[in-house]
Assembly symmetry: D3
Homo-oligomer: 288 residues x 6
Amino acid sequence: MDDRSSTAAEKAAILSQALPYIREFQGKTVVIKYGGHAMETLELAQLFASDVVLMRLVGMNPVVVHGGGPQITDLMRRLGKEPTFIEGRRVTDSETIDIVRMALVGKVNREIVAAINRNGSYAVGLSGEDAGLIRVSQRDPQLGFVGDVSAIDPTIVVRLINEELIPVIATIGVDADGQAYNVNADAVAGAIASALDAEKLVYLTDVAGIYERWPDENSILPQVTTKRLEEILNSGLVSDGMIPKVESCINALRTGVKRAHILDGRLPHALLLECFTREGIGTMVTDA
Amino acid sequence: MDDRSSTAAEKAAILSQALPYIREFQGKTVVIKYGGHAMETLELAQLFASDVVLMRLVGMNPVVVHGGGPQITDLMRRLGKEPTFIEGRRVTDSETIDIVRMALVGKVNREIVAAINRNGSYAVGLSGEDAGLIRVSQRDPQLGFVGDVSAIDPTIVVRLINEELIPVIATIGVDADGQAYNVNADAVAGAIASALDAEKLVYLTDVAGIYERWPDENSILPQVTTKRLEEILNSGLVSDGMIPKVESCINALRTGVKRAHILDGRLPHALLLECFTREGIGTMVTDA
Amino acid sequence: MDDRSSTAAEKAAILSQALPYIREFQGKTVVIKYGGHAMETLELAQLFASDVVLMRLVGMNPVVVHGGGPQITDLMRRLGKEPTFIEGRRVTDSETIDIVRMALVGKVNREIVAAINRNGSYAVGLSGEDAGLIRVSQRDPQLGFVGDVSAIDPTIVVRLINEELIPVIATIGVDADGQAYNVNADAVAGAIASALDAEKLVYLTDVAGIYERWPDENSILPQVTTKRLEEILNSGLVSDGMIPKVESCINALRTGVKRAHILDGRLPHALLLECFTREGIGTMVTDA
Amino acid sequence: MDDRSSTAAEKAAILSQALPYIREFQGKTVVIKYGGHAMETLELAQLFASDVVLMRLVGMNPVVVHGGGPQITDLMRRLGKEPTFIEGRRVTDSETIDIVRMALVGKVNREIVAAINRNGSYAVGLSGEDAGLIRVSQRDPQLGFVGDVSAIDPTIVVRLINEELIPVIATIGVDADGQAYNVNADAVAGAIASALDAEKLVYLTDVAGIYERWPDENSILPQVTTKRLEEILNSGLVSDGMIPKVESCINALRTGVKRAHILDGRLPHALLLECFTREGIGTMVTDA
Amino acid sequence: MDDRSSTAAEKAAILSQALPYIREFQGKTVVIKYGGHAMETLELAQLFASDVVLMRLVGMNPVVVHGGGPQITDLMRRLGKEPTFIEGRRVTDSETIDIVRMALVGKVNREIVAAINRNGSYAVGLSGEDAGLIRVSQRDPQLGFVGDVSAIDPTIVVRLINEELIPVIATIGVDADGQAYNVNADAVAGAIASALDAEKLVYLTDVAGIYERWPDENSILPQVTTKRLEEILNSGLVSDGMIPKVESCINALRTGVKRAHILDGRLPHALLLECFTREGIGTMVTDA
Amino acid sequence: MDDRSSTAAEKAAILSQALPYIREFQGKTVVIKYGGHAMETLELAQLFASDVVLMRLVGMNPVVVHGGGPQITDLMRRLGKEPTFIEGRRVTDSETIDIVRMALVGKVNREIVAAINRNGSYAVGLSGEDAGLIRVSQRDPQLGFVGDVSAIDPTIVVRLINEELIPVIATIGVDADGQAYNVNADAVAGAIASALDAEKLVYLTDVAGIYERWPDENSILPQVTTKRLEEILNSGLVSDGMIPKVESCINALRTGVKRAHILDGRLPHALLLECFTREGIGTMVTDA
């Protein structure tokens, strides 16, 4: 056989090796928290979009959840408003929540939907306000319209999944009076994964995985249990940005989600590699 | 009978008189172009929201379509960008389309969804970018990202209607490359009504109806045919803002929509009056 | 605004106030025991028919149950047979049961079906003999073919409800051998409400409600619990005709029906007032 | 083999011979006009009932249509009213139509339903007034409330068939105002068979079939075409009672019904013999 | 009436007497182990085929399970291979299992399917290898590819039943590695009946039923309980060929099958007689 | 990035490149004529099986059609019968058709089903005799039971596809009397593709494609129209074994199949390469 066939044979072999993974995840729901570098770089964003479509096409049910802190900050500043934070949470007054909505629903959500739909008409943007999806309660009066998830009504998400669409969810919540709130996207991703009995919860982040001893690069864990994760959390050796992810992972795994993954979203096709190959990337968390 | 009963009897009679209208429109789709004063006043917005929910509850399928010119202009100015118009169309460069999306999808659409959902979890916000809903082609290179509707794929709208939800559609369209465009909301409302084979297309505006001789207040037409409407249009005696509504009405009625109505959205419960009572308000247009 | 609009605004407001009631009762089943004056007066009968249709149109599932004592007595006399009663129950020999069937199924049921269907093709007449609906056992050999409900098979009723039709049920039952029996309509209404897990059981009667001390007009109870109702029943201060209603109410509420109402059927649109307005009419019974 | 087995073998053979007939008529609708002697004799009525249930059980969709002239006359006389006829049609004033309804819906229909349901809960009684089933127009003002079929809405019949129930239809019709009318049952049977696209229309009568030269017993036709039937009709050699049957047959076969049969209802199990055996009984009519 | 009618009347009566049996078994599943003389005689095979089709047509769900020991032995010998047995089980090496498959799937199964389908397109041949139907584990290494049923996945059978088809199952099983095995057909029939929650399990054999004292012809039991059957089994007075049938009967009845029957397949239409008449043939086993 | 990642990136890229092919063929039916070397070599057979499963998993509907000439010849010889051929067609007497069935249904079909089901419970073996699938008429009395396809009833195939199973079809046909016949597998594959409105018809053969001038290796055509194919056929420069494939291709493309492919089944993963990559292998035929 000549070179061309040899390449062809390799291609065929790689496709064929994906078979057991595709079989395992047919009809399973995978909630992907999308954010960080992978969202901000045009090229990575396009690869992410096509990976999500491929997951859909081979029979998985991907659900994308996103926030957009930098985009909110940017729009606030463009509108002449300097953000303030208390313990890492954005103080959100009435004008700010309006800006948050514009940034998340009107900009970030739209860009993700657009990137996915360049591959076909699959994505539908949702906000937590749609059809009662994300219900919240106020976290702390000092923070204003910052909410904690109190309930998820996944009906609209399930309906879109059943129609073989890809829901893309901006993490705005509402309280009982219909007031909009800003909610932490990592927490929402976990809560939605639980409400959907998801097979997998994937966090696409800017780190290579969970570190046993942050920031020691040799301490990245390929696999970890929720029990060990709680110990690491209590040890204080977890970076601030990782805390909500780690906490949400533990919660989600304790309430029915099978596996959680912390992946490095800066790696091209990180999702595909995790889902369809034997290559171990990032950290896998299981309940134990 | 005492006074209380007498009032009760009147109430009962009024409810009972709605019966033939409810019967006639069961299971029928009504596309409502929402805009102007009715959208900008908080109290009218709440009445509109509860009217739409009542329509849904008694078995109609309301679909809300909206633009939001003033809100776009406002956000542009807050971001330090002065809008320019050519023949009434907003020149829309790359930065502007981003602002349009934030204003329409991230603000106006959210406010309508929120107002409706204060009455229950009925509304789901959509942009024309979702699931291939509104496909456009560029109107004129000078205008930038301003599109004309080239195709409507109503699948996602039909799915939401079948789930007894209320779709609320922001009028952003996409071209074949996935680029977002600003589209005239009056035109989109007509095109969606056609694509859905709607029973009614209702324009909520700031005028009392169609004037035979604008602005002669005595010339408001309670009823008019598409044929006569074309003559009025050709006469030049139609106000600028009405032209897209009138043209869209004619198109929609010529492609399957049964009736179109131009109502005065400043009148409280204008929708209810039109849908459930004998009271003639605004102008009804039929094909002939 | 002129007078006409003012009236229009009032109409719209009254319709709009019905929204919470319509929302609350969507998809809920309401069993209505129809009888007395409301059935015998042509005008009230027509109002009743249109009220039932309105309930159907806004999404409730009304089920009408009726007897027809006066009509049976009348037909017996026309056929030269004098009715005899033992403790208020009609002695029913083989010839009488034939007459009962003709009066209830062939006359009263037909008239109700006809009145409803003047508003559209909604009603379907049923007898308890159809598809095994009402199974009875003999009450007392002395009474002949007078039965007590031993089982309800609501399948045919549920099927008609699912087809958005209005079942109108004549209260004839059958025993295990297929023999027809006369059954008390109040008792059947309660038993059918239980079998359907109805939201409401409504008795349309010739009194203004339940009296704490019959016949003291000032003692009508707007609301009462099953516990208190049993005490009143035991007090002996309940009129004879009310006893089966009161007993059936208690049974129905104890076996899953949410609320029962005793309304004055002589009041025009009594059903609409009870279902769609804040006006308190008659007596509401709840389990406690 | 002994005698018992020999009988058993014969039984098995007869059952087995029914196979091709059962296969041919699976899922097919058979409209049976039931009347005459077969309806009035208790034993024949019970055999008829079990035959209809057997048809249902082996997968056919039997629909029973009945009138009841003698029963109407009987009830009229018991109520002191002497029937009068013009050209064989009963003059039907307002009081008479009430009696007709009581006799047909309240007595005859009930007896058929009861006889069938002694074999299981299969039958549901219908009147042409239910759910808009039989629409009529007045035949002749002199006759009063005597109607001719103007339209059949078979929806409710189809629904009951789909639920594997057996509709039993009393031939009362309504006009556009909801007024009840007496209608010829032979004509209704034909019209319903057409509306249902029935495979077969069977008339159970008191004669052995269609006579070529009435009343010559040797002239019974085992098979005849609509063309020949029209000639016989025009010859005048058809008995009065047969005329509506013959006319309805021709109409039904000309509008989609595959075959019509005139059977002698006095023969026990006439329906079974016609449907499941090679035995030729009565007259079969086909379109040609 | 003449002779012909008299015969007709008898036919009709016999058909009519089948009604209660047809009613009782509508929608019920009957698993038939087919084998022995009934399978090897062309005429009996054709009667069996038409009986199974009649069962299907009147609403039962027949499922045919078969082995084919003589046909395997015959093909082995034609291919020059002498069968050897250990305790009545065929020693099955790799070449033999190939021959078993050819004989059962390629010959016996095909002949049964062909015989049934001469009556219409009802039968679909299955092997236990199809869609994971019969999973086995090796019985004994000495026997080679002889398996015991370890699990039944009845999904494909249920699907075919739902499509109103007749599954005909050749008793080949597979182990976890996909290797084919020969399995005892009596045992498979029982296991499939359990997995399908069958109403009846019927063994068509070459004996007249179960003998209390084999081979005393006067000791055939018309009816027997599983408890008594175990005693008979323990008594040692059961012929070798009956042991797997008796054991499978007991297992099946203990795991949900309602009744089992051992019939003499040499009797023409044995299935029809058992299913549709009062004639007692063979032995009925119930759990007790 | 180290070597491992680099490989991972390549893998991800290859998977990602399959996206447009997967999207294009979702829900489309592909009929694969399987035969020759690819069927006879164990390793190629296993690769073929996993390729078919992968097609199924990513949403295509593969249908496998096979013959088995060499296996028939082999079994005939083992049974002491020397095959004879007339113009390339096997003379098939009564004994031979039995052997054909055993070889195709009892051996080849079983081996394909087993190979596929080692990857999960997907395959169901069918013969053309099942549920009326392949109807044939005798080709030539001299040839005995050799048939030409006269009709395909694809119902059972469609049902299995709808259940997401993989039908594997042995090419035995039946005539109107239920007699089995041997049929050319290439012709059956084309006829089934037409009956299913297949998107693709793929022939896995032992040649590299269609040769313009057989056996000149430089004349292989990557693409060809039916028109040109007819010319080549008429030129006489087509090898004998290719004639039925070429004729069936033309027929299938003329009756609705979109594209046909002649692939070299000796190439590992030939199916995957054709379906999921840009690599051009074999010959593609389109209608023109």
